[in-house]
């Protein structure tokens, strides 16, 4: 026994080296097999139910594809896209028209130029985003020729409503989440409790959300009407007044999803080195300066991430409006996904619906890329 045990380590070493050498050769082959065995169940489902549908959507968008009649599957090239973007009789261009949207594009252009001038933006990024804004401004001047109309006016109005929702909801939801994250990022029982409260609505399903808020906003039954009547205001029919419906949807969404962004911000804040704050305080920085010089730079990555995720989520708005307003009143809250849904399942035009889906996909990709470029400039420079 004793002799065996003294010999063993040496043997062990040599045999180990040998097996290691042989293994590393064998590994390269057997490991690939093992890896693909581990990956296969997910990959198969992923390829069939996620990647394939994207390719299929691209293909279907080139077809006239009837949901009810399988005989109508005709290749039509880009006809669906032409219908989406086209008019019944030519296009003209003018400096007027779409005034609000075009002023907004100009305002963003101005902001980009000022930021570039002050050195806050990389030059390439500034040129690209300025170019995009000018392009948007020019495109917004297009309109149907005399005695003509857009072939699909509903597409344009639902696209405009979607963009409006994105532009209203993103700054509001991100801003409120950021404002609440700063006091709630500190440790302690009260902050932990409040975090639980603010996140709670996020776990509700959209149907519960609309059930609560549909009645909350009801001018006869809701809490909000009784709240506004304290201030002597007439009850507002939030969901049936064209001017108010979108605002009501935005507020509903704020209540529902703000907690998600809040958690991301808190995680980001807790990653900032506490010593940075201490150093800033020692240098005599007041809370506002600490916020500007420590919090904002330290949170930049999180801010980019939260904003991009929020824009992506906002572009996909559907359930709230579909249940609460059905796109009304007067189509003022109809959004792109609802238009996709209705084109496909009310008008049974799957090919056209697929083309609309592809459009939404592309718009979201472009928006995400632009934001990463615009907000992430600091990392480009470093």
């Amino acid at each position: 026994m004793a002799t065996e045990s003294t010999v063993a380590p040496a043997q062990h070493l040599t045999s180990d080296r040998q097996t290691h050498a042989t293994l590393s050769w064998r590994d390269r082959h057997s490991d690939s097999i093992a890896a693909y065995l581990f990956l296969a169940p997910f990959l198969v489902i992923y390829l069939i139910f996620l990647l394939f549908p994207v390719i299929q959507a691209l293909l279907m968008s080139l077809y006239e594809w009837d949901l009810l009649d399988p005989r109508v599957r005709r290749f039509v090239g880009l006809d669906n896209y032409a219908e989406m973007f086209g008019t019944t009789g030519g296009l003209t261009w003018g400096v007027t028209g779409n005034t609000g949207w075009r002023l907004l594009a100009l305002a963003v252009l101005l902001a980009v130029l000022i930021a570039a001038f002050r050195g806050a933006l990389a030059r390439a990024t500034a040129w690209v985003s300025a170019g995009v804004m000018v392009l948007i401004w020019v495109l917004l001047g297009l309109r149907p020729g005399a005695d003509a109309a857009w072939t699909d006016g509903v597409f344009w109005s639902s696209f405009a409503n979607t963009v409006l929702f994105v532009l209203l909801s993103t700054p509001l939801i991100v801003g409120v989440a950021l404002a609440l994250a700063i006091p709630l990022a500190r440790p302690g029982g009260v902050a932990a409790f409040l975090r639980i409260v603010f996140f709670a609505p996020y776990v509700l399903s959209v149907a519960v959300l609309t059930l609560i808020w549909g009645f909350l906003l009801n001018p006869d039954l809701g809490l909000i009407a009784s709240l506004t009547s304290w201030f002597g205001m007439e009850p507002i029919a939030w969901l049936t007044e064209p001017g108010f419906a979108m605002v009501a949807i935005v507020v509903t969404t704020l209540w529902w999803t703000m907690g998600f962004n809040l958690i991301l911000f808190i995680a980001g804040l807790q990653d900032i080195e506490p010593s940075l704050y201490e150093a800033a305080t020692l240098d005599g920085a007041n809370p506002w300066h600490r916020f500007l010089n420590v919090t904002v730079p330290g949170l930049r990555r999180t801010l980019v991430l939260v904003t991009v995720l929020q824009v992506i989520a906002s572009f996909q708005i559907f359930g709230q409006v579909f249940i609460m307003t059905r796109g009304g009143p007067g189509g003022t809250t109809r959004v792109l996904i609802q238009h996709i849904y209705e084109s496909s399942f009310r008008e049974f035009r799957l090919g056209y619906g697929a083309a609309l889906s592809v459009f939404l996909f592309v718009v979201m990709l472009v928006a995400a890329v632009i934001q990463f470029r615009l907000l992430n400039t600091e990392e480009d420079e470093s």
Partner: protein
């Protein structure tokens, strides 16, 4: 030295809003008061739903703005669970969500383990391919999916409701990141002892990833339970609605003002499982969200 430590001391007091100088204390109170007010506003809609759901339907004819139940009763809940399809929808949601969650956990962990720990040819192709899926807006791609299931006549089934959700790549991404952060020593020791890959995975890696799996599982459960567009498109037979689409269908055509309490009870029934789950697992859930997005 002493002046520096004094400064940090005072600093700590400033941050705590503790017994420091007076204006700070006042401002601290103001912040707490404001936060409390906003938090109360955030809670009020939920409290209101539960209050209405516990109120008598006829009492609600005259007053619907109370945050406390009127003539408190559990009748609405009993009705909701006895009459109509609500119990069936709850069952559907439980099955679909349960299957989806378990499958997502298992498949994500397996794929994540392979991507994080095994060297294999083609990895440079596979990993970006999976990451690309993160960019696909699931909500926008329901038409080809609808057609796919229609062609094999599989709509209004549990598999149609579950499979597209399992294909989501976020879980793989999270698990890959998690496994990459685990030290290799344990695994190597087991490999020396001749343990197979599968054994290492089930006996060492899976037990170590329980916190990550809990987070991912909670998140998946909530998202699947709340899925709306795909069940709306795929399950058109009321027997196959989930609680989410079922509840939405009630809102369209309910004799609303008369049955407000019953309706709210159904909403509460849809919300309660998730709220309970959330309160149990909120720590994991919150960490999971940070994990899923922090690592990019």
């Amino acid at each position: 030295m002493s002046s520096a430590s004094q400064a940090t001391d005072k600093d700590a007091k400033l941050r705590d809003g503790g017994p420091g100088r007076k204006p700070v204390k006042v401002r601290g109170l103001l912040v707490v008061g404001l936060l409390g007010f906003v938090a109360a506003m955030w809670l009020a809609p939920l409290v209101w739903m539960f209050s209405l759901s516990l109120s008598d339907n006829t009492a609600l004819q005259t007053n619907t703005t109370s945050l406390l139940p009127l003539e408190a009763t559990t009748e609405n809940y009993q009705d909701a669970l006895a009459v109509g399809l609500t119990p069936r929808w709850l069952l559907n949601s439980t099955i679909v969500t349960g299957v989806t969650t378990i499958a997502t956990l298992l498949l994500s962990a397996m794929a994540g383990y392979a991507l994080a720990r095994i060297r294999f040819s083609g990895k440079r192709l596979v990993f970006p391919l999976i990451l690309a899926g993160l960019m696909v807006p699931k909500e926008a791609m329901f038409i080809p999916l609808f057609l796919m299931f229609a062609e094999v006549d599989q709509h209004n089934t549990y598999q149609a409701l579950a499979l597209p959700r399992i294909a989501a790549p976020l879980g793989v991404f999270i698990m890959t990141q998690f496994f990459m952060a685990i030290p290799r020593e344990l695994e190597e020791a087991a490999a020396m002892d001749g343990a197979s890959r599968w054994r290492i995975f089930t006996r060492i890696m899976l037990p170590m990833s329980v916190p990550a799996l809990t987070a991912l599982g909670t998140f998946t459960f909530i998202l699947t339970w709340n899925d709306f567009l795909w069940p709306l498109v795929s399950a058109t037979d009321p027997e196959m609605f989930t609680i989410t689409t079922g509840l939405a269908s009630l809102q369209g055509n309910f004799a609303q003002a008369n049955e407000l309490g019953s309706l709210m009870a159904r909403g509460a029934i849809a919300a309660i499982p998730l709220l309970i789950l959330y309160f149990i697992f909120q720590r994991y859930l919150i960490r999971g969200i940070a994990m899923g997005s922090g690592g990019k």
